[in-house]
C-alpha cells in the first residue's frame, strides 16, 4: 500500500499539526491536551520521576512547536511525536549519566543487574503471602526498569500506545524485524522477572479484593 502525505492527512492529528504550521495556536493547545498524559505516562515509566517526566513532556512539545514551520506529514503525527519523545528521553538519560546521577551506564543488550537483584530478593521473600496493590505495582515497575533503554521504550509503546511493530520501528528508527526481536527479548526478561509473582497459574494477589478493602 502506497503511503504519502495525502494518506497521513487523513489522520486528524496530522491535520491539526498542519493548522499549527499555518499559525493556529488553538490547534496546538488541542494537540497538547490530547497527548500530554500519554507522553507523561511513557516518560514517567522511562525516567521514574513524575516531575522529570512533566519537564521532558514540555520539552517534547517545545520541539514540536519549534519544528512547526518545517513540518511535513511524512508519517502519522503520533509516530513523529513519539520519535521526538524517544530522542528527548535518550538525551535526558545521557545527560544524567554524564552528570553521574545514574550509576550504571546504559547497555544496549541485557538487563539492569541492580533491578534484577531487587526482584530476586522480593521473589524469595514473598512466594506465598498476599502482596498488596502498591507493592505489586512496584514489583512490575522494577521488572520494567530491569529492561535496557530500547527494550523498555518498545514495550511501553507497544503496551500503552498499542503501536504496531511497524509504527514502533518508525518511531525508534529500527526495522520491524529488529522490533520483533527486541520485544521478544523484553517479554522473555519480563517473564523471568514476573513469573514468581504469577505463581501456579494464579496471581498471588487478589487486586479486586484489595481495591474493595481500600474503598471501605
Amino acid at each position: 500500500m502506497e503511503t504519502g502525505p495525502l494518506t497521513y492527512m487523513q489522520d486528524p492529528d496530522t491535520r491539526l499539526m498542519m493548522r499549527v504550521k499555518r499559525g493556529d495556536e488553538a490547534a496546538f493547545a488541542v494537540l497538547v491536551r490530547n497527548y500530554q498524559e500519554r507522553l507523561v505516562n511513557i516518560l514517567f515509566h522511562l525516567v521514574g520521576d513524575q516531575q522529570t517526566a512533566e519537564d521532558l513532556t514540555q520539552e517534547v512539545f517545545l520541539r514540536v512547536y519549534r519544528a512547526r514551520l518545517s513540518y511535513e506529514p511524512t508519517a502519522r503525527f503520533s509516530t513523529w511525536l513519539f520519535h521526538i519523545t524517544h530522542n528527548v528521553a535518550h538525551n535526558s538519560r545521557r545527560s544524567k549519566f554524564r552528570r553521574k546521577e545514574v550509576t550504571l551506564p546504559p547497555q544496549d543488550t541485557g538487563p539492569n543487574p541492580n533491578q534484577s537483584q531487587l526482584l530476586a530478593e522480593k521473589s524469595a521473600l514473598m512466594p506465598s503471602r498476599v502482596i498488596d496493590k502498591r507493592e505489586m505495582c512496584r514489583i512490575i515497575q522494577a521488572a520494567i526498569d530491569s529492561l535496557n533503554e530500547r527494550q523498555k521504550m518498545a514495550v511501553l509503546l507497544h503496551k500503552f500506545e498499542q503501536m504496531s511493530y511497524q509504527d514502533i520501528a518508525d518511531t525508534m528508527e529500527l526495522t520491524p524485524a529488529a522490533v520483533k526481536s527486541l520485544l521478544a527479548r523484553a517479554r522473555e526478561c519480563l517473564r523471568e522477572k514476573l513469573l514468581p509473582f504469577v505463581g501456579r497459574g494464579e496471581l498471588p494477589v487478589s487486586l479486586e479484593n484489595v481495591s474493595e478493602e481500600e474503598d471501605e
Binding site: E25, F28, A29, V32, R33, Q36, E37, V40, N41, F44, H45, Q50, A53, E54, T57, Q58, F61, L62, Y65, R66, K133, M136, C137, I140, Q141, I144, V155, H158, K159, S164, Y165, K180, S181, L183, A184, R187, E188, L190, R191, K193, L194, L195, F197, V198, G201, L203, L207
Partner: protein, 169 residues
C-alpha cells in the same frame, strides 16, 4: 526444570510466539505456530506464561497531569519559542559541542603533522637515496676500474704510493 524447558525453544520460535500473541504474524507463520502449539505442551506453557506476565503491566499506574499543565505548557512553549537567544542549557550544549569539535580538529591536525614527519624520516624518496650514495656516484668511473676491492685495500696498505692511511673505506 523450567530452565531446561526454556532452553529447548529456539530464538526464532520465541520471537514468533511473541509476535503471534501481538497479532503481528503473517498467515503462513500463524499456521506454523498453531501447529507447534497443538503438538507441544512446552510451547503452549511458554505462550501462556508470556501472555500472563505481559498482562501484569496493565496494573501499572497511569501518570496523571494537573489541570494547569496544558496552560503551563502553552506559556512555556510560546515564551521559549520566541526567545532570540538560546537558553542557558542550549548555550552550554552548543559550547560543549563546539569545544569537542575544536579538540577533534586539534587531535587530527597533530596526528597528521606527526604522521607526516615520521613518514618522511622512515620512507626514503629517490632523491634521498641519491644523496646517501653521492660519495660513490662522484667516484663511480674510478671505482668501476677497480674490479676487485681486496686488491684496492692491499694497495692502500702497501707503501707503493706513499699515501696517508685513511680509516674510512
Amino acid at each position: 526444570m523450567a530452565k531446561e524447558r526454556i532452553a529447548r525453544l529456539t530464538n526464532e520460535l520465541r520471537e514468533d510466539l511473541v509476535a503471534y500473541l501481538d497479532g503481528e504474524l503473517d498467515e503462513n507463520n500463524i499456521q506454523a505456530v498453531e501447529k507447534t502449539l497443538a503438538n507441544n505442551n512446552v510451547v503452549r506453557h511458554d505462550l501462556e506464561q508470556l501472555s500472563r506476565t505481559y498482562d501484569l503491566l496493565d496494573f501499572l499506574p497511569k501518570a496523571e497531569v494537573s489541570q494547569e499543565f496544558t496552560a503551563k505548557t502553552m506559556t512555556m512553549v510560546t515564551v521559549r519559542a520566541s526567545q532570540v537567544w538560546p537558553s542557558e542549557n542550549e548555550w552550554k550544549t552548543g559550547f560543549r559541542r563546539g569545544f569537542l569539535l575544536l579538540v577533534w580538529c586539534a587531535v587530527l591536525s597533530a596526528s597528521a603533522y606527526a604522521g607526516f614527519h615520521i613518514t618522511t624520516r622512515i620512507v626514503k624518496t629517490d632523491a634521498d637515496i641519491l644523496v646517501d650514495d653521492l660519495p660513490v656516484i662522484e667516484k663511480l668511473d674510478q671505482l668501476q676500474e677497480v674490479e676487485n676491492l681486496k686488491f684496492l685495500e692491499k694497495l692502500e696498505q702497501s707503501d707503493l704510493f706513499d699515501l696517508p692511511r685513511s680509516s674510512t673505506p
